[in-house]
């Protein structure tokens, strides 16, 4: 059944430009497609290949390339296969077409991506604030938003000074390496 799918997708190549299909495992198919051909492809997937379930839309901010990658994960209950359709759109101005008229669940994901990445989806039913209703900073999931800097600007930290520490300080000891100096939980400067 899955072989049929690939051959069927191969025939799609004739119809749509810029499609690249790669099977990554038995039930996973990766499709790269130009951004203008994506709605048509999804229409075909849903309408003619029984991919009725839009599992998710993921957005990746490739800041160095100046692009957003949108990934549409579609599942077919009949073929039992997941097609991940990858497409890239320019980071500026970050506008794309909604697929809400093809997949209803897209409304949530598009709203979420709009909120977190600032991508505008033309034709999405509702792109109003949802999770970050009381946030007026930049879209936080963008790579150029520095969460930690924001936190340090807005919050203070506990200033512990327990007795044992006072005692150690009296004896010439005390804090030697604060946690921020050596940690692996943030991209360090040398990597960027």
């Amino acid at each position: 059944m899955t072989n049929e799918l690939t051959t069927w997708l191969d025939t799609l190549l004739a119809e749509l430009d810029g499609i690249e299909v790669r099977r990554t495992s038995r039930r996973r198919l990766r499709v790269e497609v130009a951004s203008d051909a994506l709605p048509a492809l999804l229409e075909l997937l849903r309408g003619r290949a029984s991919f009725v379930h839009l599992s998710a839309i993921s957005c990746v901010d490739w800041i160095d390339a100046g692009q957003f990658e949108l990934v549409y994960h579609c599942w077919s209950y009949e073929i039992q296969s997941l097609v991940s359709v990858h497409t890239r759109i320019p980071r500026e101005p970050g506008v794309y077409i909604s697929v809400y008229d093809i997949y209803t669940p897209a409304a949530f994901f598009e709203r979420d991506i709009h909120e977190m990445f600032g991508v505008w989806f033309e034709g999405s039913p509702d792109l109003s604030r949802f999770i970050l209703t009381e946030w007026d900073g930049p879209p936080p999931m963008r790579k150029d938003f520095d969460s930690e800097a924001w936190v340090n600007q807005h919050f203070g930290w506990q200033d512990y000074h327990p007795d044992w520490l006072k005692d150690l300080e009296a004896r010439g000891g005390g804090i030697a390496v604060p946690p921020n100096e050596q940690r692996f939980s943030r991209r360090t400067v040398d990597e960027t």
Binding site: T24, R27, R28, V52, H53, L54, S55, A56, S58, C59, V60, D61, V71, H73, W75, Y77, Q80, L82, S84, Y103, T104, P105, A107, F108, F109, D112, M116, F130, I131, L132, T133, E134, P140, M141, K143, F145, S147, E148, F184, S185, R186, R187, E191
Partner: protein, 380 residues
């Protein structure tokens, strides 16, 4: 900036009015809000309002090492944390090409199914409580606690186990654990008739639940409904069987379905899933002694672990539905991007909004609980 304040409100005269359910409301599952426009008792429109539990997980994970993220993943869905852990580990294993030892896979299955039972017991109680019956909640949570005891022994933590690690699990079972699991399962099975008496054959409860928040199969597919809610509409689909992971293809279990897709059908599906999970765990307990060997494949030092560049989409079946991680690596020591797709992102928002329309105010809470919507999955 001014938050809601009913005290000062003077609504214009109208038969319609608006009502906030949540975030501080016992009829809402977790810290979540659902705004209703009502005419009398009837809901004209409902609007989900999330973000009270937003922590920016996906952002946080981009800043932490692959292994450091283990501690954070289970927090995404509190009542059923294990599928989060496992699916994240599956994603990392997929990217790295790690082969998980078989024993670890079976241990994971045991943990997943125990967690499923715990989550279902939890939601039973919640569902019953929304209809005004608190006894099942007290029972369910107390019985769930026995599973947490097992977790505590197995993983060292009651709720957040952090038991999985890419490549396997972190601890082998303590001695005699299989026997204790069997004892607990026996006890739970002996309790199920009590639940039937109290809840599932309770005429008033059946009356309340039947016909409440119905979803047709067509609608379910349209709205992206998954998990027990989808099975309650008659579609026999389970990621465990149809997109198998771990060793689910070696296990025998039924996939319970009900056709009508209402709250009652959803409750019944969960009820039977408990039974199936018990069956699966019994198979695992029987199988584990025959599986010697390591519980983790060798993995690099966590402080120096680059995951090969690529992306993967791993799905598991959580107690609430289809749970998936989209993980992208740029070849670095931290994920470039993680995206979690929780089943509740559909259930608690679109589906709930749709089902609320036209229902009675009495049923809103029941619909939400019967969908087993988990707000932290929405907020992340």
């Amino acid at each position: 900036m001014r938050p809601e304040n009913y005290e000062a409100q003077r609504q214009p005269p109208s038969y319609d009015y608006e009502l906030n359910i949540g975030p501080n409301h016992p009829g809402i599952e977790g810290n979540y809000a659902f705004k209703l426009r009502l005419n009398g008792d009837r809901v004209i429109a409902g609007r989900a309002d999330a973000g009270y539990l937003h922590r920016g997980f996906e952002k946080l994970m981009e800043g932490r090492l692959w292994i450091q993220n283990l501690a954070i993943t289970p927090r995404i869905c509190v009542p059923d944390p294990v599928p989060m852990e496992v699916s994240y580990c599956l994603a990392v294993e997929d990217l790295c090409g790690l082969v998980v030892p078989e024993r670890a896979q079976w241990l994971r299955v045991m943990q997943l199914e125990l967690s499923r039972i715990a989550a279902h017991l939890f939601i039973f109680g919640g569902h019953a409580a929304t209809t005004g019956m608190y006894t099942p909640m007290f029972w369910g949570i107390a019985d769930r606690d026995l599973i947490l005891d097992l977790f505590e022994e197995m993983t060292g933590g009651r709720v957040y186990h952090i038991y999985n690690i890419p490549g396997g699990v972190r601890r082998d079972l303590p001695d005699g654990f299989g026997e204790r699991v069997t004892n607990t399962l026996d006890y739970l099975e002996s309790r199920l008739p009590d639940y039937d008496n109290l809840l599932f054959t309770n005429q008033v409860f059946v009356h309340r639940a039947r016909g409440c928040g119905p979803i047709s199969q067509q609608q379910a597919l349209e709205w992206g409904v998954t998990g027990p809610n989808l099975r309650a509409t008659g579609l026999k689909f389970d990621v465990r069987r149809d997109d198998p992971y771990l060793v689910y293809d070696q296990l025998e279990f039924e996939i319970p379905t009900e056709a009508p897709g209402d709250a009652w059908a959803r409750a019944l599906v969960r009820r039977r899933e408990i039974k199936e999970s018990i069956r699966i765990i019994r198979q695992v307990v029987a199988r584990l002694p025959t599986l010697a060997g390591p519980i983790r494949c060798p993995i690099p030092n966590p402080l120096a672990w680059n995951v090969p560049a690529g992306s993967t989409y791993t799905r598991v079946e959580s107690s609430k539905g289809e749970l998936a991680w989209y993980v992208v690596s740029d070849g670095g020591e931290r994920p470039y991007r993680t995206h979690v797709r929780g089943p509740s992102q559909m259930h608690a928002v679109q589906v709930l909004e749709q089902l609320a329309i036209g229902c009675r105010i009495e049923d809103v809470a029941q619909i939400m609980f019967s969908l087993d919507a988990c707000p932290p999955e929405v907020d992340r």
